[in-house]
């Protein structure tokens, strides 16, 4: 097994809080057209700050949400509104699970 060392200090940020993305950044990162990102904003999967698409600022979490929504849409044959519902329900299940665990419950 080879070992590659990279022990110099790396630039770090909490992605969800400190990364900011423009519409163009998101399109590039997801390899999709701006129309699809706009559609994801319309169904509420993504919630950018700013009024017009040119001024939109997305937080880092948007990248994962967008990718997840695109995967769900592609793999399950559902539309963006359906993917938005799935994401919301997944979020809710995740928060219920952590709450249950925090309360000392078992699944």
């Amino acid at each position: 097994m080879n070992t590659e060392n990279n022990l110099s200090q790396l630039t770090i940020c909490i992605h969800e809080e400190q990364t900011q993305l423009t519409l163009a950044d998101l399109c590039r990162a997801c390899s999709i057209h701006a129309d699809e990102i706009i559609a994801l904003v319309e169904v509420g999967v993504l919630e950018p700050q700013g009024r017009e698409p040119e001024q939109w600022v997305f937080i880092g979490d948007s990248l994962h949400r967008a990718r997840k929504a695109l995967r769900l849409q592609r793999d399950l044959g559902i539309d963006f509104a359906g993917a938005a519902l799935v994401l919301e329900l997944l979020d809710e299940i995740a928060s219920l699970r952590t709450r249950l665990r925090a309360m000392g419950g078992e699944l």
């Binding site: 097994m1 080879n2 070992t3 590659e4 060392n5 990279n6 022990l7 110099s8 200090q9 790396l10 630039t11 770090i12 940020c13 909490i14 992605h15 969800e16 809080e17 990364t19 590039r28 990162a29 390899s31 880092g60 994962h64 997840k68 995967r71 769900l72 592609r74 793999d75 399950l76 044959g77 799935v86 997944l90 995740a94 928060s95 952590t98 709450r99 665990r101 925090a102 309360m103 000392g104």
Partner: protein, 314 residues
């Protein structure tokens, strides 16, 4: 190479109609989609399913597969006859799930490794390298105080002969103070190299906490079970509570019931706003090992005339 029984994977009969195959795929895709599924082997199952669907949903590929597969069982060693797929023409079409690179050797021997490989724009000289993802386990304390941790990742890589080997990659990562479970640390430029003029991709580390002996975590809040003596709960007391920031004193109000939740403000994960630490009282019974202890219990039973089951009507 193993023969793959795509019909078995999809759970359909060999004479299933295209509609039946489509329905079976949709149903199983919902069950095993890695973003949705809680099944432990969801990712592998979903990949297998995508591959089976890729073949069976396409009448041309299905015909080629059927001709070949008539004499094989799933798991059997498969030796492709030379030029066996000659005479079949594949019109391609967009792949439904996963990357072509993920397909099995069996699939590759039939339809070629390059089949549908990559999406449009992949080959652009300005393309950014792929982002990498990994999960890392840290201690709750690392988030509370901030820390520098050496993290070892296992990365599949290609050696000079083209074999896949596992490389170990050691990174020195500073854990930002206040990071929460499920959040990601982004290491800029630590993903795959980009093509020609493209930037390297990023590496995302998803944070997971090791189970803590004392605290349970809910977002930025912590939960701690605090044992109290019956008299502390009944009469009220000031007791010591361990928090991540050190020991604090907590005033237990008199007449506290077991399960009472008390909040230590801003003693949770130090983000903005900081989380709280919830203390759940749990009344611990002193053991009745000695005659003196037994006598005290008997005295209480006699003097207090306490029925804990009045609400049950008994």
């Amino acid at each position: 190479m193993e023969f793959k029984d795509y019909y078995k994977i999809m759970g359909v009969a060999r004479d299933a109609t295209q509609d039946e195959i489509k329905r079976a795929y949709r149903k199983l895709a919902r069950k095993y989609h890695p973003d949705v599924s809680k099944e432990p082997d969801a990712e592998a199952r979903f990949k297998e399913l995508g591959e089976a669907n890729e073949v069976l949903k396409d009448t041309e590929k299905r015909a080629a597969y059927d001709q070949l597969g008539a004499n094989y069982q799933g798991g059997q060693t498969f030796n492709p006859p030379p030029d066996w797929n000659a005479g079949f023409e594949y019109s391609g079409g967009k792949s439904a799930g996963g990357d072509a690179a993920d397909y099995s050797d069996f699939f590759a021997s039939m339809f070629g490794r390059d089949f549908n490989a990559g999406g449009a724009g992949r080959a652009s000289p300005h393309a950014k390298g792929e982002d990498h993802h990994a999960k890392v386990l840290i201690d709750l304390e690392d988030s509370y105080h901030g820390a520098t941790r050496t993290i070892t990742l296992r990365v599949p890589a290609m050696d000079t002969q083209g074999h896949v080997v596992t490389k170990e990659r050691v990174l020195n990562v500073s854990i930002p103070k206040g990071i929460r479970e499920g959040q990601h640390i982004r290491l800029s430029g630590q993903g795959s190299a980009g093509s020609a003029t493209g930037k390297a991709g990023d590496l995302y580390l998803e944070i997971e906490f090791r189970p803590h002996p004392l605290y349970r975590v809910d977002g930025r809040d912590l939960y701690l079970d605090l044992p109290v003596a019956p008299w502390e709960a009944a009469l009220g007391a000031t007791v010591k509570v361990p928090t991540l920031g050190g020991i604090v004193e907590l005033k237990i109000p008199e007449g506290s019931a077991s399960g009472r939740k008390m909040r230590l403000k801003a003693r949770g994960i130090p983000s903005n706003p900081p989380g709280d630490c919830y203390v759940i009282l749990s009344i611990a019974l002193p053991p009745a090992h000695t005659e003196a202890a037994k006598e005290l219990y008997r005295k209480m039973a006699h003097d207090l005339a306490f029925n804990p089951r009045t609400k049950l009507g008994v």
